[in-house]
Symmetry: C2
């Protein structure tokens, strides 16, 4: 199956076998301001090229897609804040483009599926996958099943308000968690702190438009004080938010996926400390925070493909 | 069955038939600083008296209890912030005291059960009951079943942090939702605002120790500016928090139960407005906020009894 993970910045896709093995994967810029169809055509060109070269070995059964604000029930993507698509029926668009059966779900739900079947959540019945990239997404698993909620969109943790006088968000609201805990959120924090602090920092040497979470991670690893404080602040807000969700939903673990998760211990160790300090007694020292257990952080691609395997394995 | 709802201030209990009809109910002070056993003895004295007078008509099958921080799985109440009991096995204590079978659950879960079977959530599969009293509790129903989470304590919405530099909470943390949205929370807000504002208010005429949510409600209904702003502030924080939980869990409705819910439109209308303004587009105009649909606001008593009916109806 072809698993496609559509992000606000990059779209990653790969051919995945039923056992979760990725045969080959690719990453292209999403170009979020262009229409959905244009993205699907670019994916198909690359996929076709691969299939043509490997026509003796592989056959494409179907396609699974993980995308922000996607509904498993309707096939629609509804007004994703990080993509300028409005509301589109991506199952129809992709179906026409590839002439194969297509199933879609929220990108964080796809990650949760990938982690449950082949990654860090193997054997768990209650956990939450958190994807940290251009945005912040969450996929909630309850009693071994993806939790969709009454409207099919449950798990929009990125737009939980943590400060209603806080930063402006692409969704039109203020103080959403993903304005702080995401790759662009880390950059905004670094800019703010480089203005607030007097300590020396290499962050001021980089034009703000060229700052990235990756660059700030590298500076933090070299001991840059403002870069380190940026991650401390990010971990604090993520830790409080995970504690809040934990006390509401009661998971065994949070699995942290996506680009920003590559900051590793710089983010996760402190997040765990902050989470513990914001839990009430009967939740303390029970809930794990684990990095993605899927090689290369591909949990959404693998999960999207796994969704397609579940739906179309007789196709 | 005897349904008992243990609150931080009062304990309400009643004899409830299988169809949810309350034959007779009672309310006594919890006296939260005295041991759990003492409370059970006081409940039994009143219950015994009633049963003796009605021995020809009624027979007691068993007991259902709703209490803060109670675990359905273990029978334990673990360190409830609003009761000075530490960790006790209330199923054992009540079983010995009454010599009848006892089942226990979180008080907000009991309310959710009561609302689902006989109240405002009849026919709903996904909803959240919020109890507003001395504390703030929540009972989450997913796919028609109470959601307990991995540790049995899911739904501790009262201790979700809304301001980590905020008010001190009985649980040891800061900025917990129930420090703002609860009967004592309303009083704390009224005291704060009467210090901050220069507008005239009758609140300053009452010794702060004698202030109550009931008195502030009455003043608000008479147009007292600070009392009105107190409810606006309470509604704002509750609205943001319900929006946050809604985007995480995806319910059809919130059912508002407990003493503070008696403020009615003063609280609920504004809460709905604030909630809507903090939802992202794909959640707007779908989620109801309803007052308890169980006569006299007894949803936890009826729900606790219903739990006992489910467990012991052959007893």
């Amino acid at each position: 199956m072809l698993g496609i993970d559509i992000g606000g910045t990059n779209t990653v896709f790969g051919f995945v076998q039923k056992n979760g093995k990725v045969i080959e994967d690719f990453s292209i810029p999403t170009k979020a301001k262009k229409p959905a169809k244009e993205l699907m055509v670019r994916v198909r060109e690359i996929a076709d090229h691969f299939l043509l070269e490997n026509s003796e070995k592989y056959f494409l059964n179907g396609i699974g897609i993980g995308a922000p604000n996607a509904s498993y029930y309707t096939g629609l993507i509804e007004n994703p804040p990080n993509l300028k698509w409005g509301t589109v029926n991506l199952v129809k668009i992709a179906g026409k483009c590839f002439n194969k059966p297509v199933k879609i779900t929220n990108d964080a739900n796809a990650s949760a599926l990938g982690e449950m079947l082949f990654g860090a959540a193997k054997g768990m019945k209650n956990f939450i996958a958190i994807t940290l990239g251009t945005g912040l997404g969450s996929g909630i698993v309850v009693d071994g099943k993806l939790h969709y909620g009454a409207n099919g969109f449950a798990g929009e943790l990125g737009h939980v308000c943590i400060d209603f006088r806080g930063r402006h968000c692409g969704c039109g609201k203020r103080g959403c968690l993903e304005c702080y805990v995401s790759a662009p959120g880390v950059v905004r924090t670094a800019i703010e702190l480089s203005a607030k602090r007097v300590s020396e920092t290499r962050i001021r040497e980089i034009p703000t438009e060229e700052l990235s979470a990756k660059k700030i991670t590298d500076l933090a690893k070299k001991g840059d004080a403002v870069a380190l404080e940026t991650f401390d602040y990010t971990a604090h807000l993520l830790g409080v938010s995970l504690a809040n969700v934990a006390m509401t939903v009661g998971p065994e673990a949070f699995i942290i996926c996506g680009g920003l998760a590559k900051a590793g211990d710089l983010l996760l160790k402190k997040t765990k400390e902050y989470m513990e300090s914001h839990l009430i007694d009967n939740f303390k020292n029970q809930i794990k925070i684990l990095p993605s257990g899927v090689g290369n952080g591909n949990s959404a691609v693998i999960g999207a493909a796994a969704l397609a395997w579940t739906e179309f394995s007789n196709a």
